[in-house]
Symmetry: D4
Subunit: 250 residues, 8 copies
């Protein structure tokens, strides 16, 4: 029930075609979502610059393209994660502004200039963690945050991390990506005062159990103020980092 129909209902009431009890009855069964949908949707657009993100895994290219077409038609920016090259090509056909970040497995169509915002720092341990770190980076950037990166600073060579202590301190929020033993967020969390988002990756073998070891390490982190997202969930980390970063700019 949109505004027009609601106005009509009130007009009918004023003109006596329906009484108060009738109006209440109609309102009672009012489809919540019709009222709420636009509003929520509106909020979404305001706060993040785009209303929906396409998670491509488990969708056919055709399904992905159909959803993307609908989103692009309404003029909102597009963010498609876990996109294979095949999906990227399909989306490129749809809109030639589409940019494929191959390492991040992400397709982006930006429809406006992101407002300069605060500063998210993505820290990662190893080369094999890069796809997840890059997914976080592209996500936060597409949503409107400025992002810096600090890659290949694993704990095995602790000096590499300690030497960039100043860069750690400058960020408003940090996303720390690590596989294997997943100790990097604990160490970074002990060096900074800002919120740290820890992202375990499935990198590793044997008793890493597909990222479980890193996940448990991060959940048990002795450093206070660390929030954890799902294994390999670069998108979620980037999104949460952006939401926190935005707070600092209000």
């Amino acid at each position: 029930m949109d505004r027009a129909r609601l106005t009509r209902l009130l007009k009918d009431f004023k003109q006596g075609r329906i009484d108060a009890a009738g109006v209440i009855e109609r309102l009672r069964s009012l489809p919540y979502e019709d009222l709420g949908f636009a509003s929520v949707d509106h909020h979404r657009a305001i706060r993040q610059g785009f209303p929906e993100v396409i998670f491509c895994e488990g969708k056919t290219p055709a399904q992905t393209v159909a959803i993307a077409r609908g989103l692009l038609k309404s003029g909102v920016p597009l963010l498609a994660t876990r996109a294979t090259p095949e999906v990227a090509r399909a989306l490129a056909t749809l809109d030639r502004r589409a940019v494929y970040h191959e390492l991040a497995r992400t397709v982006v169509v930006r429809t406006g200039r992101p407002r300069p915002r605060g500063h998210v720092l993505i820290v990662s341990a190893g080369t094999a963690d890069l796809p997840v770190a890059e997914e976080a980076r592209v996500t936060a950037e597409t949503m409107g945050s400025r992002v810096a990166v600090l890659y290949d600073v694993g704990v095995a060579g602790l000096h590499r991390l300690l030497g960039r202590h100043d860069r750690l301190l400058k960020a408003r929020v940090l996303v720390v990506v690590a596989g294997m033993d997943g100790v990097l967020p604990s160490v970074v969390g002990g060096l900074v005062e800002r919120p740290v988002i820890a992202v375990p990756t499935s990198r590793g073998y044997g008793a890493s159990f597909g990222g479980l070891a890193a996940l448990l390490t991060m959940l048990n982190s002795c450093a206070a103020g660390v929030g954890v997202v799902n294994i390999d969930n670069g998108f979620g980390a980037g999104c949460l980092a952006h939401k926190i970063n935005v707070l600092g700019s209000e």
Copy 2:
């Protein structure tokens, strides 16, 4: 090596009692922490109002009291979590300002008036989740955040939650505490745009496996922008919420 000793070293160098190579050698083996400790410590005090939190579990009352005595001597506020009544009594003897939050199992000594800050909302599902929710509340408050609570709004009675939608929207950051199926953060995360910190609790039985079920639910949350902390870790959630909340006040 504190400032005084460093100044003396430089003086010795200027007066020729030690040459450049000797100074470099001394600096090279300079205990990092002596230099760094005060600085980090200072940072800690500035940002959170107290330099260290005592996790009482696994410590004897005597050990806890000894640590607390040291902290109180230096004039900083005190936060002791997982405190049994016995520990609380011991700390009360130490400092009569000590307040024991029994449900939160937390002892607090506040040495100053917290500056009014932003607004953290603690949301919880069931009566049995209250100790964890309260630990989060006391933690964030002691660190200097204003905190509101919204308890007993489990998904089984969804209307109770939807009816307080406005309260959800007003908070700058939300801590959502739930045991059993742990679905509350997913639902709340779908209703708000702000960062959500999810806290699984060990409440439940059978296939809840001591909170594992709730933990996995939260890590897999379809709502973007949810960060998860360890099972029953009300302290960590309160601390992270405060850190995020502070960003909005800078």
Copy 3:
């Protein structure tokens, strides 16, 4: 916002004290639950005979009594599960009609005569499964179903089960409770055409892992048409059985 306030709003609109846009704005932020609560609540009472069940575990006796007092005041029947003798005594003080089913760890206050309804059969394997089986029985009975039981018919003595095949066939829905290897629901499910609700129990030792073995057995049951509830969740099984049983009486 209840009916009175809504009527007043419409009156204000009719009399021109507020325009259509104002009404829409007010309705937009209309607390959903105030409208919905009574209705949902009403539904609850109609369909199950009582609006809320108290799960006593993790609540203090005082908390339990407080909730029970509220429920009894509104004249609805009371069902309190996982009640210790101590809680039972406290509830008995509150209302002398309170009956404590010790084996089922359940307190019941029935405020009316349950309408005769269909027939739920509770089947269980061993003596140690009885508390769970009894919780299911008391729950379904209190909600208004007729219940029959068939206890101690484990698969180790298959003839005991096969000899009561006729009793299995007469039930409209079956709750099958088993610990250890949890095979009973698979066997029963192969003998009847009716819906079977399988309840694993934590009975067992070693590789039963607190009921996990039985749970997995039941989830993988080769017999089609078996729904599983949580380990030891007699209440959930009784409630679901009642809901299904009710369908046959409509």
Copy 4:
């Protein structure tokens, strides 16, 4: 021992060719299944419209075709689940009425007109859950139930679900399919009074552990009256839903 041989035995007895003790001896060693098989089989046909379902996974196309040929010969309907396109083609050669539901990976041959029956509602969260939801739909329909669907109503956009509250209330039994965090059944279970069958799917990544997260969520659901089936078991859910739905039509 079929009816003919049994009649002959009784005739022999009446005519004195065998005495009572001899008859009893023969009956004692009576192959149970020969007696029971037809009866059970007969029951099966009556209650579900077909005596056996072929689970194709782990069978060669040749094995599947052989079993299907036997079933079709006896004039019963055919339901083959987890059928690859290759198997579907083989079955199509066998009987040209065979319909392949590609998304549901199911082949159906219906030999009669299903009697109009009650109403099962299949609810699912995401695009990637559709194969499981469709398997449930085809199963319940083939067994004789009317089925409605409500797809893509995940909790991340709660308004989509709340806006169809009326459709949820109309169903006699609901099958709720969800992967990732698996929270949808808890939310739906809090909105309806009817039996809810929860189906976790293996959709997800990382800490979803192949559907384990969703499974645990559902088993721990705070909503009473939820029965759970195995991960990805659309067939089992459809079958159980049909069995429950049938009760309402008796």
Copy 5:
């Protein structure tokens, strides 16, 4: 339906009070167990010397005594496992022949002289494994096997085991009990040609996970011909060993 009723039915048929179709109908619903029960029960007594073993865990002393009284009345021997001293005292009151094996937590009443049978060897690794080893010993002995033991021959002192190689070779079947790393059955299985029954115990700490480590070791044993029972299941091992041992005496 016992013999008498069956005879009556046949008589009615012969005298024309019921026709063949009526008899078939009655036979069709013939309670299987009435026919089968005695026979199976009889088999039990013949093959093992006693019809039922009481697993005391999860039963009250009163329940245990009631079951024991019934068994003793029928003159069969009694085996009650996992018996606490309290239960043992209660059973001793019931029958003064009752012997309590404290280490094995088992009460035995033997009503006859066991026939001399083959030779079971119980091998165990550590002092803490003795209760399980002893449960196996008492079980096999009570059932009628001769039993020898070889205790405290853990792999850490391999020479102790190798030095008794001849004793290993003399047994007809071996029960090997081990906790912690559970390697003993693999080593013994490599030294003998006879069937080996491996019993993991819950002895250990940390990553023994309550016996899971030992269980997995045994299931993966590189020695062929090793069968495994549940963690701490001395009874099951003793029973299986006896069944195998009996074969060699037939």
Copy 6:
């Protein structure tokens, strides 16, 4: 040190070329295996008809052929399990008597006529369990046991199993193979008095967790006298069954 060298040593001693202390010293450092190897090897050949079984998984065809060539040279029978068709072809080139059991993935070269022995019964639940059941069958037969099979008697159609009760009773030892819920061994174990070897298979999906569910079911079996082997370990079950069967023939 073989017999020849030992004889020479003793001769040297007798002739005074070495004294007693020297002999003892030589014996002390005597390589245990040289003495033991032949003996154990000899035992192996006597008891099982062949000294070693080749587990092909994880070996290259070349490695497998090399081991097989060595075994065949010494005139012993050959049993190669988990053999791919490629390996089977390679072994066929080596010895034209080699028979490939495709379903059992096993290559056999029998060098003598197996002595008629007792009777092992292989029972299995579903079509997809056949490879494991057949591996058990080929193994026990190759080792010298007579084997009967009873396939496709899953618990979902219990009558099929009960109807063959007599066949179950005739076997000296039973191997029961089942995937999914793994309940078949529990049911069979309740029907027979003989030793039962339970083999879980990895057949299944979702919460079967690669056979873990069936494994746990079997370990927790309420039927006493069930020994369990590793998931899919048809070889181990066949080998253990043969060892038990042999006892009955001694």
Copy 7:
């Protein structure tokens, strides 16, 4: 078969009372352990200063005392781990030199002066890890190593660790003890070149799963050259550290 009996056998052979074949036959069945036992035992005493350590858990005080009495009689030092105060008192009665290390839960009787050896460093993270760290310390010291400790240097305050970098570098082998996230060994392993033995502790709560999280962290450590022992296994770490330390002194 000891030297005396062997000499007699050889004498019999020389004097013709037994022939070569007879001697070989006797030697063939020679109890391995009788030959090997003394030698191995002797080795033990030489290399570690005591032949056996008593793990008290799961033993009664009486059993522990009996074993200790035997060891003390032979004049070797005594090490009893996991000793309760009750056990400690019992051992003190046995030998008044017995020292009870309460925090380490260990009783030691040293019978000689340990030779000065290399230097083991025990590093630990938190107060609650001390019992395990102390068990390692007492073990290595009792076995004869010099031991230094560096406690309370968790990663949350990284400067405390970095400030003692020189102390880390001086040790010949390091034992690093940590619970919760277990990151300390990874960090230490990145700072030193020496062997690091990592000991996870069961300290923690929630997703630490009794030390599993710390264990997995350590097994996946990105720092090369880290060996891990069981959760809480201070004894094993101390013993391995001593064995490595000894190498450096040879």
Copy 8:
């Protein structure tokens, strides 16, 4: 900040261009790693003969080649593990001294003659464990240790191991590699006094759970003095063995 810049700073101070406070301020923000990096790096080269090992898994051939080129340029030896043949070919193009150990999946470029060092013994159980054993061998050798191997000595044929007892005793440190039940390290650990490094492999099937069974066996080993590395981590074991071996040569 290198030595040159530091000298310049001190010179400025001496000449009054900067005061003590200024120097302290500069030192305070001194990049830790610039000071520490060279030193640590230098240590690395001295102690192991090469500063970094390339773990190829999860890196593209191009990334691997780029890292290798950098390392070779600085004249250090190269060790690349988990190298596919494709990567090996690429590295061979880079430097023709590159040797590919196919079984060990490792590429080595040695730039100098390794100093003769102590003796590491690699022991392994089965043919399928060889890749891991070989990775350990190549790693220890490349780092500068002498290495001996003892392959195919699984516990199923215990005599093979016992017969080489002398070879076990000669090694300074042992690496024991085993999959399946993983019992070999326990047995070896009971035979030697030296440090044992246990390496579980992922070899196996069913309840080996990808090496988890072997890992748990080793962590629970009853033999004291066993350190465990990650599943399949031949590199880590070889590296740790080398570090321990080096101690014995100092």
